[in-house]
Symmetry: C2
DNA sequence: GATTTAATCGAACGAACGTTCGATCGCCAT
DNA sequence: ATGGCGATCGAACGTTCGTTCGATTAAATC
């Protein structure tokens, strides 16, 4: 599946593997930049080759196809994003603090890997087949983790609120995944500032709804409300 | 610039113009569906031709190029979205109600024109040159209108809150523009339900921040906060 | 030192794309 | 009738794309 098999028989081949991983990382980073700037379809393999210094044919030593290249980028980024969150969540018990950590971790990762996160936010439906399913599964893990935090948050602070939890979770993801369209960590408020503002507004938006009656009074305003089930699709 | 000049000299040519507009609308709707499903680059002119019944060459009677076709879709959609909001805002004076109207109008329009709004949310950077600038200008009007509502809202209900208003506005747009990725008006909570929940959470997220001290106490949590200026880019 | 294997490249292939060309058909005004 | 024009089409053109092929060099294995 990947370009090369591991041949871990000697120290020499271990060094070679390190060099291989390093060059692969360099190529993927350049590809990431091109796709972030031009979009997947417009970013030609020739442009990626130019950006890396490797020849066009040389790229195909590292992956079988352009689609596999995108898969590697997305799979690695989503995995790292998820792993990063799990680590930062370690030892944090309070659900409010967990949500603050989640938002801060997401923004930090975005600030440090803007190209990669843009490609992951914008090219969500580009892959197909099993490559799509694999990245979708990681995304679902990330979604499920975030949603479980929100669930505990609601159970603890707003138990009776009539809030659709899927809508709630996707609203947050909308705010976070849209960042790549406008937020420049270098030229605006700091990551900490933006994280805190988003987290505070989100949290207090929940809390205040719990305060008013059972949340329904504030939520149902002027229009009838139906208690239909959560929407079908998950990210 | 457009495919045809207006020849309004007789009733006959007026009828012809109506037929022309109708066929153009039909073609754009089909193109919209293809681009929403496949993305702009993958949606070939041959696929659009198949979807409309018109021949490949016949399409070019209605626009000079594929890019102009996308421009027509985006320009018309953004204009209608903006116009629709202005109309629904007519006579509404309370800033809170204005924001609720804005969110409800956006979701209603989305529910009625899913393909078009997906194309407008996802293909924001596809156009170039003056076509890009024209659509960007309408988007900016839409942004400015929404931001002005939020500004008045803050001045009235949370005058001292240390909230970055650009971050606030873009958070809302993130939630709204991300809808196309998950919300199916046919199979989930109603437009009214989702609108109310998003609006209520957003509004109370602001109000509660105004209640606590001057908003800074709740906002600055655990991390230092800098009072840097608003981010550079607007949508 | 011989042999295998990883890494790289220039050149080319076949397909798909956006676009254009020239011709045809039907309608309206002259 | 006839000339002009809007509308439409099949066929083709030139370009760009992802990918493959065969050859060449460098390094590791025996």
């Amino acid at each position: 599946m990947f370009g090369r098999q591991a041949t871990l028989h000697s120290r020499a081949s271990s060094d070679a593997r390190e060099g291989y991983e390093q060059r692969l990382g360099h190529i993927l980073a350049a590809a990431c930049g091109a796709i972030a700037r031009l979009g997947y379809e417009r970013a030609s393999m020739r442009a990626v080759a130019k950006a890396t210094g490797v020849s066009l044919a040389g790229l195909y030593h590292y992956f079988d196809s352009k689609e596999k290249m995108l898969f590697l980028i997305q799979f690695r980024t989503f995995s790292a994003l998820h792993q990063n969150l799990l680590e930062k969540l370690h030892g944090v018990m309070d659900s409010e603090e967990q949500l603050r950590v989640m938002i801060r971790a997401h923004l930090s990762y975005f600030a440090a890997n803007m190209d990669a996160l843009k490609v992951c936010s914008h090219e969500l439906d580009t892959l197909s087949g099993s490559a799509y399913e694999q990245t979708r599964d990681i995304r679902r893990e990330y979604y499920a983790l975030t949603r479980s935090i929100i669930e505990r948050l609601l159970d603890a602070h707003a138990p009776g609120a009539s809030l659709d939890r899927h809508v709630l979770t996707m609203s947050l993801f909308g705010t976070l995944n849209w960042l790549y369209r406008w937020y420049d960590p270098a030229g605006g408020p700091s990551v900490a500032t933006v994280s805190n503002q988003i987290a505070s507004q989100f949290l207090h938006g929940i809390y205040h709804l719990a305060d008013t009656a059972d949340g329904a009074a504030a939520n149902a305003r002027g229009l009838p409300r139906d208690a239909s089930q959560a929407a079908a699709r998950t990210p």
